[in-house]
Symmetry: C2
Amino acid sequence: MQKILAKTEDMRAAINEEMKAVLQYDSVTTPDLFFGMNHYHMGWVDEQMQPVQVHAGKQIRPLLLLLTNQAAGGDWQQAVPAAAAIELLHNFSLIHDDIEDTSPTRRGRKTLWTIWGIEQAINAGDAMFAQAHLAMSRLLERGVPADITVQALRRFDETCLNLTHGQFNDMDFETRDNVTVDEYIEMITGKTAVLISLCTELGALIAGCNAPTVRHYAQFGLELGLAFQVKDDILGIWGDEAVIGKSASSDITTKKKTLPVLYGLSQSAELRRLYRQENTDGAFIAEAIRLLDESGAREYAIEKATTYSQSAQGHLEAAQPNGAAYTTLNELADFLLQRDF
Amino acid sequence: MQKILAKTEDMRAAINEEMKAVLQYDSVTTPDLFFGMNHYHMGWVDEQMQPVQVHAGKQIRPLLLLLTNQAAGGDWQQAVPAAAAIELLHNFSLIHDDIEDTSPTRRGRKTLWTIWGIEQAINAGDAMFAQAHLAMSRLLERGVPADITVQALRRFDETCLNLTHGQFNDMDFETRDNVTVDEYIEMITGKTAVLISLCTELGALIAGCNAPTVRHYAQFGLELGLAFQVKDDILGIWGDEAVIGKSASSDITTKKKTLPVLYGLSQSAELRRLYRQENTDGAFIAEAIRLLDESGAREYAIEKATTYSQSAQGHLEAAQPNGAAYTTLNELADFLLQRDF
């Protein structure tokens, strides 16, 4: 990742400058708390509205958008407002997710709602949602034609609707015992993959690609997002064990319904019985992993991830990207998938 | 209002049809609860997702948009998606406001969050926010040019940002003792007037008016919204007494910081002392009204409302509207202002 970060320094600077313009951040003047709450969330100021430097995530989504744009033959500077919009959309959803999940911290800092209350945090998220849209409309000022800008905005909101649908399913699943593998794939498609797909789709759209090429880029992002999520599910159970020899992870302790678990539950009556017990101690974890292994859940998930990953690669090649950005795009995809299982 | 409703039956039918298309409402199939929660909020189904007929408000905002559009020379059918978007935006904000204000009921029914929980209600509101934007982008299908559609979307989101700023101020004021009249005007501008202004502005924009005319229509809506809010503040203290002889209203009992109260507090040390006491019984109410009258708060507020109202009328005339829609637009403005004080 260090290599990718070094190669994309100018892109990341441009994304951050654009986000600061849209969120009306000026480090010199003391901001209105209304804007300040969102500057806090972005990691630009502390609770007292004093400038700070906080690691604000790897910003992989906006980078994916700009790299796709460049690999598809675009001038990435034109696409910067869309990249900023994607990152703001992601951050808006984090503000509301933190309330919905009652999460006290994010990135090692107190979440917005724990400082200013749920009421103001809901409203601050709504403001950032509006600002994400305002970022999109700034494509006009970079010379992107109005018809492409409207089309990009429409895809942006269709994706927002998918994201909220995915979040609905995720919250709904927590209350249900009978979630199927297919429902799970639908949920992670909505919660994770459609946003990655929007990045690659908008990158191509703004580059002026024709419709079939835009679709290949969109599908590349979608399958990449699915592969990423399933890989994450695998690491959540077997990752630590395989890589650093620690015992299995919190996904078992919390009985999280990830893909390998749902597959295992569908195959093994013993696992279903085990998951009905309250206690999730060391013996529970060991037995759960034994039953998951026995049911073939790991192979199943690896096969799924591999299929998604290969399909992603196929769509990327079909889109015929080129140049140095194509290389970096591939590196970024490799990093996301950590193809080491 | 009955006369206006009769004259705008076709417009209201078109607005509702458009909203149902955008919210994916089909009364025949049983909907996904994800969409169903918002159908419930709109008054189309009950808690069990069975179709119902509920009075869903007078829909004055979208009507204002379509009437302005027609009076400005447009074909109102073209503007229907924007009218639907305004009504969805308003309803999205109600879903979140009800959580923020812990309101158990709205329009005589349980609020969304009391049935499905705060988490799902935040998310359902986010979905409707995205759908309001999707409604706007449907202007394209009605033949509105892409550049006007993008401009309309930008004004839509700038207004959303103003609305959240107004909501921030409103919540912030509840915790403060030193709110000024100017801050109050700024707050109601953001919370109420900018949305009314957006209706008249978008109506004119979509009709293809030139920039100065669009500005007059926007200003007409803004001043109309301010006049409406101040009038509402006056009725909240003296309305019942003057009209139906009842004793003063809940705005005094709840010590709500409306314009007449803020003016009175700035003028009368006695009123400031009175408002410091906990008890708000009958003697408190009588004394508060006596002091408000003595301070000239009522005349001050009436003068403000009159100035806004006259300014609104001036901008409307400067915009040179015409036809039957102009007459109805005037009737709607009169209804909003109930010019009877």
